[in-house]
C-alpha cells in the first residue's frame, strides 16, 4: 500500500470514529432540508420554496458553516501530532513530507466531500418532487461542487495554520481569526470601500478583489447561476460581471491548491 493511501485511510477512519462525517452530514442535511422546506415561512406560507431562493439562502448559510467546519476538522492535523510526538516519528518513516500532507488532505478532504454530497444531496432529493430535474441537477450539482471546493480550500488553509505554529491552542485561535476575516471582515471592508470611495471601485475591479476570497467566490458562482431577483447586497453588483462560471471555478480550484503548496513548503522548512 502506498504511504499516501495509508495516511488517507487512517485520517478517513479517524473522521468516521470521531463522528465527524455523521455530524457534518447531519448539519448540512438539516440545514438544507429546513431551508428548502421552511424557507418561505417568513412570508407566511409553508412548503417547498423556489429552487433559486433555496440555493440563494443555502449559499449564504453554507458560506459561514463550511469554512468553520473545515477549519475545525483540520486545524490540529499537524500541530496535534507534533505535540504528541507522532509527527517526529512519522518523519523517520519512509514517508516524505509531501506524502504525509497529501495523505491527510485526501483523507480529511474525503470526509468533507462525502458529507457535502450526502448532506446537501438530501434536500436535492426532497426538491425532485417540485422542481424539474433539468434545472435542479445543474443548480444543485454546481452548489455541491463549489461547497466541496470551499471545504477543501479551508482544509488546505487549516494545514498552513497547523504547520506554522507549535501549539494547538495557537492554531485554534488563528483558525478562528482566519474564518472571521474571510467570512465577515472581508465583505464588510469591501462594502465600506464600495460605499465610501465614490470612484474607487467599478464593477470589474470589485469582482477582481473578490477573487482574493474563496468564500466570496463560492457565493459569486452560485448566485450568478440563479435568477438575480433573489439576490441583493454587494453580490448583486458583482454578479453581472463578465467572468464565466468555468473561470471562477478554476480560480476556486487554485484556492485549494495554493494553500496546499504553501503548507508543503512550510512543512519542508519546519524544524522539529
Amino acid at each position: 500500500m502506498s504511504p499516501v493511501l495509508a495516511v488517507a485511510i487512517k485520517e478517513f477512519q479517524d473522521g468516521l470514529r470521531n463522528r465527524w462525517l455523521v455530524s457534518i452530514t447531519a448539519i448540512f442535511a438539516i440545514l438544507s432540508i429546513g431551508l428548502s422546506y421552511y424557507g418561505s415561512a417568513a412570508s407566511g406560507e409553508l412548503g417547498l420554496v423556489s429552487l433559486s431562493s433555496t440555493i440563494a439562502s443555502l449559499s449564504s448559510l453554507a458560506v459561514f458553516l463550511i469554512p468553520l467546519i473545515a477549519l475545525l476538522l483540520s486545524y490540529d492535523s499537524f500541530v496535534g501530532e507534533q505535540e504528541s510526538g507522532t509527527l517526529l516519528l512519522l518523519l523517520t518513516y519512509p514517508l516524505s513530507h509531501t506524502q504525509l500532507l497529501l495523505g491527510k488532505f485526501l483523507g480529511q478532504g474525503a470526509i468533507i466531500t462525502l458529507a457535502t454530497i450526502l448532506g446537501f444531496g438530501c434536500s436535492a432529493l426532497l426538491l425532485t418532487g417540485q422542481a424539474e430535474l433539468g434545472r435542479l441537477l445543474p443548480a444543485f450539482g454546481l452548489f455541491i461542487l463549489t461547497a466541496t471546493l470551499l471545504g477543501l480550500c479551508f482544509t488546505s488553509i487549516a494545514y498552513v495554520i497547523s504547520l506554522s505554529v507549535n501549539e494547538k491552542s495557537k492554531a485554534a485561535g488563528i483558525a478562528l481569526v482566519v474564518w472571521f476575516f474571510f467570512v465577515l471582515v472581508f465583505d464588510l471592508a469591501l462594502l465600506a470601500a464600495l460605499v465610501g470611495i465614490k470612484e474607487g471601485l467599478d464593477q470589474q475591479s470589485l469582482v477582481q478583489v473578490m477573487m482574493f476570497n474563496p468564500a466570496d467566490l463560492f457565493r459569486l458562482i452560485n448566485l450568478a447561476a440563479l435568477d438575480t431577483k433573489d439576490v441583493n447586497g454587494v453580490l448583486a453588483v458583482a454578479i453581472n460581471s463578465s467572468w464565466s462560471a468555468a473561470s471562477l471555478l478554476l480560480i476556486m480550484f487554485a484556492w485549494v491548491l495554493a494553500p496546499l503548496a504553501i503548507a508543503s513548503l512550510i512543512f519542508k522548512r519546519k524544524t522539529l
Binding site: A6, S84, T86, P94, T271
Partner: protein, 328 residues
C-alpha cells in the same frame, strides 16, 4: 560481518544562536550496541535526529548505511531503521492494534507481523482496547513494538525503559540482545543507568553537546581509574591491624582499591581464615558517568556516588558480573 552502519564524522549542529552538538565522531558497527548517556539537553536527541535524517547536521558528515540520511538514496534504508522517541503518545482513540497496523503499512511491513509483535511485547490481551486506556508502561511497550517493526538493522531507542516494570525491562533487554544477535545495531539513549551495563558494547557520554568519553566500559573504567570497592565480612579487627590494608579502608570492612592493586589485595584478604564473605564491586556506569561529568566540569568527582543513587540499588556486582563486560 564488520560493516559500518552509522558513521559520524566531526558532526555538529547549530540552531540559530546555540550550538547543541560539537564535533561528534562515531562509528557504529553491525551488531553493536551503543549506550548514549547524558543529562536532558546534552544533545542525545539531536544526535539521534541527525542519524534518523530528520534534521541536517550543520557541519561534518553523517552517513547511515553508507549514505547521507537526508538524501534520496537513504529512502529505502529507512525501512530498516526503528525509532522509539522519548515521550511519544500514540493516537489515543485508536486501539493498540490499529496504531501498529498503521505504522506497519507506512513501513511497508506485512500487517500479519503486527500480532506477533504485540505478543512479543505482551500487549496481546490489550490490543483491541483504545490506547487511551493504556498505562504508561503499556504505551511504552507499544512504542517498542513500533520500533521493532520490520526487523530493523538499526534501532534508536530514546529512554526505552522509562515506565517499564522490572519484568518488562528484563524482557526489553532480552529483545535487545536478540536483535543484536540477529546483527542489528542499536543505540540506547538513557539517563537511567542501572541494568544497562550488561547489554551495551560501548558507551558514549555526552554533556553540553560534547562527547566526554567514548569506549567500552572496560576502557572507560581504565581511563577513569576509579577505585574498586571491596566489602568484606568477618574480618573485624584484622584489617585495621594490617598496615597495608588499613590505608585503603573507607569504612568498617569496606576497602577502596585501585584496579592495579585489586588482585594483590584480594589475595591478601583470602589469606585470612576468618573471612566469611567478599564482595567486589567495580566502578559502575553511574560512577563512571559522574566521574566524566565531574572531570568536564573541572572538578574531579572521584568520590561521587552513582547517578540517582544508581550503584546503591542492589547493584552489588560480584566478580562474575564483571567478567561479563569485557571489551569485544
Amino acid at each position: 560481518m564488520s560493516s559500518v552502519i552509522v558513521s559520524l564524522n566531526n558532526t555538529g549542529k547549530q540552531y540559530q544562536h546555540t550550538r547543541v552538538l560539537h564535533n561528534i565522531d562515531l562509528q557504529l558497527q553491525a551488531g553493536e550496541v551503543l549506550g548514549l548517556f547524558g543529562h536532558n539537553g546534552a544533545g542525545k536527541t539531536t544526535l539521534m535526529k541527525i542519524i534518523l535524517g530528520v534534521i541536517k547536521a550543520s557541519e561534518g558528515q553523517a552517513k547511515v548505511f553508507g549514505v547521507d540520511p537526508l538524501s534520496k538514496q537513504a529512502w529505502q534504508g529507512r525501512r530498516q531503521i526503528g525509532y522509539l522517541p522519548e515521550n511519544v503518545s500514540f493516537y489515543d482513540q485508536l486501539t493498540g492494534k490499529q496504531v501498529l497496523t498503521y505504522f506497519a503499512r507506512l513501513k511497508a511491513v506485512e500487517v500479519a507481523s503486527v500480532g506477533e509483535l504485540l505478543d512479543k511485547v505482551g500487549l496481546r490481551q490489550a490490543m483491541d482496547r483504545p490506547v487511551k486506556t493504556y498505562s504508561k508502561g503499556m504505551r511504552q511497550r507499544l512504542g517498542l513494538a513500533q520500533a521493532f517493526l520490520g526487523d530493523p538493522k538499526l534501532l534508536l531507542l530514546d529512554e526505552p525503559t522509562v515506565g517499564l516494570d522490572p519484568t518488562a525491562t528484563q524482557e526489553f533487554y532480552q529483545s535487545v540482545d536478540q536483535l543484536k544477535g540477529d546483527g542489528a545495531s542499536i543505540i540506547l539513549c538513557s539517563h537511567v543507568l542501572p541494568g544497562v551495563e550488561q547489554h551495551i558494547d560501548r558507551a558514549m557520554i555526552l554533556s553540553g553537546g560534547r562527547s566526554l568519553a567514548m569506549g567500552t566500559l572496560a576502557q572507560l573504567r581504565r581511563d577513569a581509574n576509579l577505585p574498586v570497592s571491596i566489602r568484606t565480612q568477618g574480618l573485624n579487627g584484622a584489617l585495621q591491624a594490617n598496615a597495608n590494608l588499613s590505608q585503603l579502608l573507607v569504612a568498617q570492612g569496606h576497602l577502596q582499591v585501585s584496579e592495579q592493586d585489586k588482585l594483590a589485595v584480594v589475595k591478601q584478604l583470602l589469606d585470612y581464615p576468618e573471612l566469611r564473605d567478599l564482595q567486589l564491586e567495580p566502578a559502575d556506569l553511574g560512577r563512571l558517568y559522574q566521574h566524566y561529568l565531574g572531570t568536564a566540569a573541572g572538578n574531579t568527582a572521584k568520590s561521587a556516588g552513582g547517578l540517582n543513587g544508581g550503584h546503591n540499588d542492589g547493584q552489588s556486582a560480584n566478580i562474575q558480573s564483571q567478567a561479563e563486560v569485557k571489551p569485544q
